[in-house]
Each structure stands twice: as structure tokens, then as C-alpha cells.
Symmetry: C2
Subunit: 297 residues, 2 copies
């Protein structure tokens, strides 16, 4: 297991962590100021300053992208909606490629309408089939351009509105069906699956099969590793994630499992926290991320 205590070279900042800090150019400047080597930006933040401007800032600051957030959201009520999702995912793959991201993270979607507050259908099995079809179609294009797709299993509390893939086991079963020979995609001389998983401790820490499924994923399918913490008193289902060390997740134990399986990429901090961290200055948030990365990740 890598020693993170001496520096933060393996720290990546998911830019959603700094949603309170303003535009992406400001966020990137702050990251550079703190010696952060990698980020994972969100599409809406990129769109707000432009893809080319983002690419330029990423190059100028010598940043790596541990991932690009996000594709997915495949299920829809009709064929036109599903096609619109596929078109949008193709654009997301292109953007990820332009920014040279390590992977495109997929938040796969769930019951159509639920995210807006009123589910138009309750058929979660049907949503899961639509997700599989959507990933299959997107994967074809992603393979062509050489962009790995990372399915992010989301916590079951998001099964209605955000993602109906809710365990690593379920994600890997899907990977095995759509991409039976992992390691076929050579990106930057590194063996990688065309389709794998993003393991976010917030979503999976509770899973009794976590250790076994991380081992099953192996190096080829472990495309991203996200950290934050689960607060014992969580006040909001979406925007009350904790800073590493402030909650109950055994982050070093999970990182040890991920690294034992062969993962050697960035540890990406992704904290949605309108109730706390988004209210604080970017410099304080980043200094805390760095300190916690060295001490409790």
C-alpha cells in the first residue's frame, strides 16, 4: 500500500468538492496553488468556461484528469429520450478524450422523472435493462476512441433517482457481459478494461461483499477511486458528505483492498456538501483535503 503521509502526489480533486468556490478557472487556479496534480471536473463546470479554455488550463497547469464527470442517465420514457441520452454520452466521451481523462465516469440513471421529483415509471428492472443497452451502445464508440468507461455504483439511497446500479457486484456482472475480455483497451501503454468501475467509498462502504468484489474487479476494472466520508448523522441524502476522517468509513482499509487488487491511480476527493464544505473558502477546503489525504486516507 502506498504511503500517502509524506506528500499529496496521489491526491486528485473532484471539482464538485469546490462548488462553493466559483467557476472552474478559479477552482483550477486554487488547485494549482496547492500543488494538486490531478482533478476530475464536471461537465457543467467545463461548459461554463468552455471546453477549449478548460483544456488549455489543464495543459498550462500540468494537470492530469483522474476522471471526467459524467456520462450516464440512460433510461427515458421513449425512444427519442433514449437516443438523446446516447447522443449526449457520445459528446461526453469526446470531451473526456479532449481533456485526456483517465476515464468517463457513468452515473447510469434510474427511474425516468424521479430526479425531477416525480417518477414516471416504477420499473427498476426495466431501467436496468435500458442502462445496459445504453452502456453497450456508448461502449462501442468509447472503444473506437480509446476512452474507458467507469460505471459508478451509487449508494442504494439513489436507486430511484440517480443510478439503478447499486453494488460493485452488480456493476461487475454488467462489465462481464458487455466487456468479457478486460484489458483489451491499451491506454497510455497501460492495460485497462474498456469498461470498469469507479469505486467511491461513500457509495460502497456498507457492502458486506466489498472486499471480495474489489478483488474480483482487479486492476483492469478498477478505473477510479473516490474518497469522502459518511457522517453518522447524515442530514441530507445528497449534499451532506463528510470530509475524510469526520465520518465512519474505514478509508485506509478500503484503499488497501483497492491497491492490493492492483489500483495505482489517484485518490480523488469528491465531497458534495452544501451544508458545510461548500460554504468554506477554497483554500481552507483544499488545505483540509491535503492534510486528511496524508493522515486518514
Amino acid at each position: 500500500m502506498r504511503d500517502f503521509s509524506a506528500d499529496h502526489r496521489w491526491l486528485s480533486i473532484n471539482t464538485a468538492t469546490l462548488r462553493g468556490a466559483g467557476r472552474l478557472d478559479t477552482i483550477i487556479e486554487a488547485c494549482a496553488r496547492h500543488g494538486v496534480r490531478a482533478i476530475s471536473p464536471w461537465r457543467d463546470q467545463v461548459a461554463a468556461i468552455g471546453l477549449e479554455r478548460t483544456a488549455q488550463l489543464v495543459r498550462t497547469n500540468g494537470l492530469a484528469l483522474s476522471g471526467y464527470c459524467r456520462g450516464g442517465m440512460f433510461p427515458a420514457m421513449d425512444a427519442a429520450g433514449r437516443q438523446a441520452a446516447l447522443d449526449d454520452n457520445r459528446r461526453a466521451v469526446d470531451e473526456a478524450k479532449t481533456l485526456d481523462a483517465a476515464c468517463l465516469v457513468l452515473v447510469v440513471g434510474a427511474l425516468p422523472g424521479a430526479l425531477a421529483g416525480a417518477a414516471l415509471a416504477k420499473d427498476i428492472a426495466g431501467a436496468r435493462w435500458q442502462v445496459e443497452d445504453g452502456i453497450a451502445a456508448t461502449l462501442e464508440y468509447a472503444r473506437e476512441v480509446g476512452m474507458p468507461l467507469a460505471i459508478e455504483p451509487l449508494h442504494p439511497m439513489y436507486a430511484a433517482d440517480r443510478a439503478c446500479i447499486n453494488t460493485i457486484e452488480q456493476a461487475l456482472d454488467l462489465c462481464d457481459r458487455l466487456d468479457p475480455v478486460p484489458g483489451a483497451l491499451g491506454v497510455d501503454g497501460r492495460r485497462s478494461a474498456a469498461l470498469g468501475v469507479a469505486v467511491d467509498v461513500y457509495h460502497v462502504w456498507w457492502d458486506p461483499k466489498l472486499e471480495a468484489q474489489i478483488a474480483r474487479a482487479g486492476q483492469e476494472r478498477l478505473l477510479a477511486f473516490h474518497v469522502c466520508d459518511w457522517l453518522a448523522k447524515t442530514r441530507d441524502l445528497l449534499e451532506d458528505r463528510g470530509m475524510m476522517g469526520d465520518g465512519v468509513i474505514e478509508i485506509p482499509k478500503i484503499r488497501a483492498w483497492v491497491e492490493a487488487a492492483g489500483f495505482d491511480g489517484y485518490s480523488e476527493v469528491e465531497i458534495f456538501s452544501s451544508l458545510d464544505w461548500w460554504k468554506r473558502p477554497a483554500d481552507e477546503v483544499l488545505a483540509t483535503c491535503i492534510e486528511r489525504h496524508r493522515s486518514v486516507v
Copy 2:
């Protein structure tokens, strides 16, 4: 699959659904007034009016108990804490027996301290071993007196503070280890496992392995079936459950699976809702439960 549309003879009311209505005697009167044949009371509600008084009211009103809530909460920081939990579970078994409950429901507990807001330990694997030890000890006594124990797998969002058993699969694995020959306990001439599961749709609806694990449980291990609904916009992790039909759970589909596996008991309504239903009059809540039981369960 049983037809519920004509009456509500298979409806049970978990008395937590009526927490806004006052004391247990008032709640029982209201249930009797609406022709409810079964309830599942909580220990604190029973304690408030006394066990003997409760038993008398249950008998007078000809009520069945679809379950008794609850035992569990096994993990603790030291041996004294664990022994106190075992003692308390033994009392819960006795109370369940006095009230002739179909089973004692176990909310098994999780990280010590987390329920009070500050976890004293983060070792979820350790908590799971403590749970297994606690159930093993309680099961010995429960077998003696003939009271089935129903492990309730709780939604993973409660893994820190309420229950570190979070899927039916995990619960059944534990059942198979501690009670390898289900059906050994004959209660009221009915074959029942000494140890089984309480399936609450709120906790398990998202599980991709739900259908298969319900089938695996079978009649002997399916000791209780709880219904409510998952609201697409859930505002609180604990007390914002929806009335059946107001959310996204395919309740009839899950009930069909449970009945196909052999379950023929009550459909127990358990709604924690400080944000809505606990504010309404008991008669309105019960009339709505009955209407929804007949139309959407």
C-alpha cells in the same frame, strides 16, 4: 397471489405508523374501530401502558401480532455493554411470547455510539461479528421458549447507526450459519424457522438480487412482510417514508415474490413519517392504509 382488493383481513398495522396518535391503548382502539385484525407494537409503546395492560387489550380486541418491535442493537464497546444487550433481548423475547407475537423483529445494531451521533468505532466487520454472536446467544433462549427471531435487513443508509445487516442475502447467510435446519421450530402447528428474516420493501426494494434471495428464503425463513413506500424526493433519512402508492416501489411485484416463496401472513404497514403521516388524525391514516392495502399492495 392473494387478492387483497375485497377486504383488509391480511392488513397489519405497525403501531409506529400511528406515533402521532398518542398512547398504545388509543392506537389499539383506533385499529379495532377500523376492523384491523393484527398489529405489531413497539416496546416503548408497550412499556408506556404496561405489558399486562397491552396483553389484555390485544386479547379483548382479538388482535394478532404480526411481529414485535424490536430486539437487536447487539454491538457495544465492552463486555458489559454486550451483556446488557443480551439481557435486554431476553426480556424482549419474553414480552413477545407474552403477547403471542408471530416473531421478534431484530434491528441488529451497528457502530456503537453512532445512533447517538458519534461513532466510537468504525469497525463494521467487527460489529457484524458482534451481531452474529448476539443473535446466536439470543437464539438459544428464543428456541427454548418457541419465539422465532426475524432479522430485518435495513437499508444501507442505516449501516452506521441502526443495522449492519443490509441485504437479505447477508441475513440469510447468517441464518444458514446459526440455524442450518430451518423449519425445526413448530409454532402453532406451522413450520417455521427459529431464525428468519423480516422483509420490509423500504429496505430492500433497490436490491438487484431481491427476487432470487426471497426465493432462497422460502416459507420457513420469511417471518414478516412490511410495506410502505420510497418517496422519489426523500427529505429525511429516517422519518420520511411514504404511504403505499405514493412512491416508487413495485409493492405488488415484491408481494408476489414473497407469496410465491410461501409466505401467507400479514402485510404490515410501517410508516415513519414525522414530516407527514404522524401529523394526521389516526382515522385518516388508518382509512388510507386500508384503501391502499386494497388497491396498491
